[in-house]
Point group: D3
Chain length 172, copies 6
């Protein structure tokens, strides 16, 4: 039998959320997660954080879902056009332009995004209602899975011809 190891402050601590990752990638955004993978003491506690950085002039946290969490986001810096889409059959877009200090909620499992239309960078802190919320970037899951989804499926689902689907699959 293993000896019980007492918890210490390190098990509840993370450092560095004041500094964003670089955003010079294809979508112009980066996420710094602080969940149970970074703070082991979060296990079973049902909450986590993330910092999101958005490049100026179009930085995008592309349409995605969290399969196990609601998200609440606060803008620390800059401007964000954000939104989520309700379930079938209505698929209503609930969107808003957020400025510094504005807060928005993305209910569990719904497709949502944040986009920086401004001329300077933007920064947000997001809290999620799970210690292990998961992230599914829609375009990557659909067009960039490993192995690829049969192009017949995606061609019919997205009303794209098959060559277009294959071209998209090669990009992700």
């Amino acid at each position: 039998m293993q000896r019980r190891k007492l918890a210490t402050a390190d098990d509840f601590f993370f450092s560095g959320l004041n500094i964003g990752k670089i955003t010079s990638n294809s979508v112009g955004s980066s996420v710094t997660p602080v969940n149970v993978a970074q703070i082991s003491g979060l296990n079973t506690l049902g909450i986590s954080l993330a910092r999101i950085d958005y490049a100026a002039n179009g930085g995008l946290n592309p349409p995605h879902t969290h399969p196990r969490a609601t998200e609440i986001l606060v803008v620390l810096e800059g401007t964000l056009y954000v939104g989520f889409v309700t379930s079938n059959p209505d698929n209503r877009l609930i969107a808003e332009v957020l400025n510094k200090g504005d807060v928005f909620v993305f209910p569990v499992g719904l497709v949502h995004f944040q986009f920086n239309p401004g001329k300077s960078k933007a920064v947000a802190i997001a809290a999620l209602s799970s210690q292990d919320p998961g992230v599914i970037t829609i375009a990557n899951a659909v067009f960039g899975s490993d192995p690829s989804i049969n192009p017949d499926v995606l061609s019919k689902a997205f009303k794209l011809d098959k060559s277009m689907v294959k071209s998209l699959q090669s990009k992700f």
Copy 2:
């Protein structure tokens, strides 16, 4: 104060799941839901059913998620190529060809689909771990929301030029 009305068998009953809806639509499939909207007695009980019909030669239940439920599906008739994609960063496709009597699980919130590659129609029964699971058809939520998502967002997310995005948005 309202008088309490006693529950009757009607509150736990639904009829007609032996007959599928027609599948002559753009994706070649139809879903008949049996959840709390159809059976009021399911309220708070955490389960529901659906029948899915797939046209021959490519009937597709297109990539979608259930924001509040895991799904377990059994094939009653025909053949289905099914799959789901795991979360970031791996986005692994877990897929299988199912025949009559085969069962497959789609964990909560993950993108999944069923496709009928066969020459005859296919039928499945799905059970979902919520009385109100919700359905998000990815293509419709992304390209068919009301109002539309800003094309700049979708162009960058899906690596499509903006005219293509607008053309897709006009189709959904």
Copy 3:
């Protein structure tokens, strides 16, 4: 430390639910479960399936409960007289005759049964709101436990004389 093993399609797959087990037993029914014991990927996901076969002329899934699940059942073939009994003090029987395509709900923990009054066999698919719902066949739990419940208990509870209780206990 063990290496993490990646999940594969096999972890989410089960085959053979198109074929029922034989029903030539004392009650004239058989259950083919598809829960976490058959599909390991169901763990923690809160759902499972079962196929139930009923012999013609009286095949019975005898009064039982699921200690951890609500059940929703759809008839694939034949006719079933089904019912559940509400809690004390009313003990109301909520019953219905189901035909092909009919659906019925048995709320968590309540005593319920299905009986085939027809001249041909019947088949149903049941979904349960737990990956490990458990089954308690009332007669077996009460009269067939190992070791036996003290006959004084059962005699008083069921208003049967003790010799009758012992006779019943010898049959289960």
Copy 4:
């Protein structure tokens, strides 16, 4: 809109659990429940109590289940032979003779009973893991439902001839 009414001590209070109900009934026991029906402040809090009185020489709390709760019982006075039966397929009886100050657990949904084999009365306090645990007395649910379960069902399930079933149904 209704005015919010402030909670008071009365919403969290119940009086009289020191006095048992009379046990001169067919089973020789009585239950005094203290759940959300008696204490409105228990709503959503997931716990309740009951006092159980057992007549001398065979007082019985007959085999029953709680569809939504685990029970933990402490004997205040007297001796109790108690037990529960595990799920299919084993149906193991887990039983014990309890004396004053002894505690026993009956896991959620399992069939259980308490029986007073002693020459003096017995008293117990039970706690249940729901504010609305429900009680299903097996014999009453099975043989005493309103309306009656079809005797063919009970005859086959309990291996009793039909006249015996009808006789039992007339007693409950």
Copy 5:
């Protein structure tokens, strides 16, 4: 791989709740817990018990919280002045004097206490809605932590001068 060990009655049994621990300590009370640490079979079942003994003339179960459980208490013997305090901003004291057979509820996480104003000892049984409810005695957590909380914090929070805080810290 380990062999599965079958559960026995011992896994659901505890003995000795008829006898209280001595109450000759600084607060004049003692608690005998019966939770998952004493009964392993309680694991995941969401309930536990405790016996509390109160010395005559001021025996006190001092202000404390259960971070993971609601408590429902019944007085077996004596008289208790009990209460809990609601959350900010109202901090209303909901209090009652309980006699033998009286029941009171302390909602999850709220500060509560029981005090014996009577000339004879008092005894209560408490049930808690967790198999591992936890106990935080306020004075001990605040003034008796190991290591001590910075006296500046406690001085400002409790409007006590620092020497008083240090004096208190030395007592706990």
Copy 6:
């Protein structure tokens, strides 16, 4: 029957978290909550936010608990000495000095605090695992309840003489 009103962006939006409330009060801190009272769309979603401002030179968010939530906090500005105390019997203080970008977790129901030892103000964002977490400021609940807790209780619990207790009660 009321007409269903469609949700709008306003139901998921809050503005002004970039500006703290003034901290010129007795503890030198202020909390700006963003929970279901401010954002109705958070209902049932299990998450909320708060901004906390701390005056320079000793601003204190005094020892408190959240009866229904774990908290995860990130420092936006300044320095904080933070800590929580584990349950009985150990009452270990788990503490840390946090700087800008540091994150700390306070598990559900435990007593915790944040203190600004620095020469400039501090600001933090906290996320909580409930849409209605509740706050219990220990000193206020214990010494400032309405009506007051009997001084005999507090005198014994806190090892303070009664005049001291009454003096404290008059301050809160």
